[in-house]
Amino acid sequence: MTIAEPILSARDLHVWFDLGEGRELHAVRGFDIDLYPGERMGLVGESGCGKTTAILALMGLLPASASVAGQVVLEGEDILARGEDSMSPHRWHEIAMVFQGAMNAFNPVKRVGAQIVEPMELHGTASGREARQRAGDLLEMVGIGRDRANRYPHEFSGGMRQRAAIAMALACSPKVLLADEPTTALDVMVQAQILELLVSLTKDLGLAMILVTHDLPVVAQACTRASVMYAGEVVERGSTATLYHEPRHPYTRMLFAATPDLWGDEDVISIAGTPPRLDHEPVGCPFAPRCDSAFEPCATRAPKPIRVGDRHDAACHLNEREIAGATT
């Protein structure tokens, strides 16, 4: 059985933000990801964990105050190697993004169709009548009729604007779609519609997708695999079923335990404390102060991610102890 190569990988990605006065915020601290064609990967974490920064880094959309290290490998090529120069040819052509709050970021005085044409013309994939035709096709693909292309954004509902934002991202036929909190501001029924759309798009177009969200059940419903982030790093990754049934990092387990389930009877338990400040390097495991299973090495030594199952990695000393115990 041949195992396909990932279409997009990140290796040891770091992002620092310059805070002035010699201080730095180490927002992304060794981010690793492997995305396969047709795969839907959820990137889960709470506010401040670095998930948005990480995917912005995958596209090189970081401000002047940011500095980046590591590799972003798209179809075998490190597109981060020369910074912006190596990033820009691939942006939107191969890797595109639906931004957080994209539904509210439309230009109110331009027609929606024109705004979908814009990236095509900007990136030279199509222009004029051909571009308009394709914009119509895209609108059909996302479930908005082609005849709505001449409307203005304020004539669209929130859900429709989000679909239009997805159409914009697909304008240049990318292979990878990054979606940052695509359903956060939407009602649950509209959320279901958008997630259904995203799932069918990945299937029909062979897209690979990273879906960033803080909502675990959304990942459970729409994604096949997930990576859990905390304090700028991936603490566990694996299939969504494995993460729920066999979590190997306390944060993953505790995060599920803190999420109420519609029919679940178990107690819902909050996680006390707050995430560490990332303007100085944490000592030991960043989750240790809040962890219910912290033990002796956790305060002094930061755990590295290790393989704990089939395509299942976790960064926790408990796994090392287990593996060490199993081999003795």
């Binding site: 709470e46 506010s47 509902s157 929130g158 859900g159 429709m160 009602d187 649950v188 029924m189 509209v190 959320q191 279901a192 519609q193 259904e196 803080h214 909502d215 675990l216 059940p217 959304v218 459970a220 419903q221 729409a222 299939s239 969504t240 079923a241 729920y244 049934h245 505790m254 995060l255 599920f256 803190a258 999420t259 109420p260 389930d261 519609l262 029919w263 679940g264 819902v268 338990i269 909050s270 996680i271 006390a272 707050t274």
Partner: protein
């Protein structure tokens, strides 16, 4: 339900609240028809002491307008609101003031709920000053510390002199709760109390509300999150386009929904277990805006099982035949 009527805290009957849509000068002069946003169109429910009732629904369903009407921030057009037996729907604001001590509200946004210029102490002390409670500075400070402890801001000395920008979202929400608790209210209205907080923090706030409920407070929770309502509320009322379409014990509504809308909602709410996702019954389109309400049953244009008669019959909320509990009601001709 015993023969003796339980002393309900809040009793809402047939509440109607609507907002006029501005016509502008031209519209007024040309006598264009006045359009209304029918935010609340006949809502009835009650909250008893020690009970948490969740008003659940999507945007535009009228749940926030209902809460605003109950707390008299907005005046209802008709209907009755009885608080501890007393009719307050048309009470003057002067007569209402003493009652405001017993009915408090906490809002969704912990970042906007607190005056950035006030220390925690000032925010929590303000209600006491407004109502002239407390026999002096020391007495007020004691009450403030007590409210902070009840709200989980312990040790209170650590928080009392902080400014909001020094606190996390969850801590700010607790300050807002403490400011509500300091007057010892009987009814607490919580408008989306945790939707802007991180997941790991939500359970703490919700369990705090649960503790308050167990100590006898009545809580009306407004939320769009069915899972939260299912876990923490005693009763759930599902709203659609200004009406309650289903109402009953939380567990029953969520496990044995009667109304087609509730059934659809429950099918699309994501569950935690990837292997236990239900086939989603995704309704087409979006909720129509409350200005042009469909005739007959409000839900019929999107209802997957609508019949011809649904276009003309506006169903009442009555006990559902297939429900387990007698107080599980639905507004559908098919139930």
């Amino acid at each position: 339900m015993s023969a003796q009527e339980q002393d309900t805290l809040l009793d809402v009957e047939g509440l109607v609240t609507r907002y006029p849509i501005g016509r502008g000068m031209v519209g007024t002069v040309t006598r264009r028809e006045q359009l209304w946003v029918h935010a609340v169109s006949g809502v009835s429910f009650s909250v008893a002491p020690g009970e948490m009732v969740a008003l659940v629904g999507e945007s535009g369903c009228g749940k926030t307008s209902t809460a605003q009407s109950v707390i008299r921030m907005v005046d209802a057009d008709s209907g009755s609101i009885r608080f501890r037996g007393r009719e307050i729907a048309r009470l003057s604001h002067r007569d209402l003031r003493p009652l405001r001590r017993e009915m408090q509200i906490i809002y969704q946004d912990p970042y906007e709920s607190l005056d950035p210029r006030f220390r925690v102490r000032d925010t929590i002390e303000e209600p006491l000053k407004i109502h002239g409670i407390g026999a002096g500075k020391q007495d007020r400070e004691d009450k403030v510390l007590e409210a902070m402890t009840r709200a989980g801001l312990t040790p209170p000395e650590l928080f009392i002199d902080r400014y909001p920008h020094e606190l996390s979202g969850g801590q700010r929400q607790r300050v807002a709760i403490a400011a509500a608790l300091v007057l010892d209210p009987k009814l607490l209205i919580a408008d989306e109390p945790v939707s802007m907080l991180d997941v790991s923090v939500r359970a703490g706030i919700l369990s705090l509300l649960d503790d308050l409920r167990q100590a006898g407070m009545g809580i009306l929770m407004i939320t769009h999150d069915l899972s939260t309502a299912a876990h923490f509320a005693n009763r759930i009322a599902v709203m659609y386009l200004g009406r309650i379409v289903e109402e009953g014990p939380a567990r029953d509504v969520v496990r044995n929904p009667q109304h087609p809308y509730t059934k659809a909602l429950i099918s699309v709410v994501p569950k935690r277990d990837p292997n236990e996702q239900t086939p989603p019954q995704i309704l087409t389109g979006e909720t129509p805006n409350p200005v042009h309400v469909p005739s007959g049953c409000r839900f019929h244009p999107r209802c997957p099982v609508a019949e011809e008669r649904c276009k003309s019959i506006d169903p009442e909320l009555r006990p559902a035949k297939a429900a387990a509990a007698r107080d599980h009601r639905a507004a559908c001709v098919l139930t």
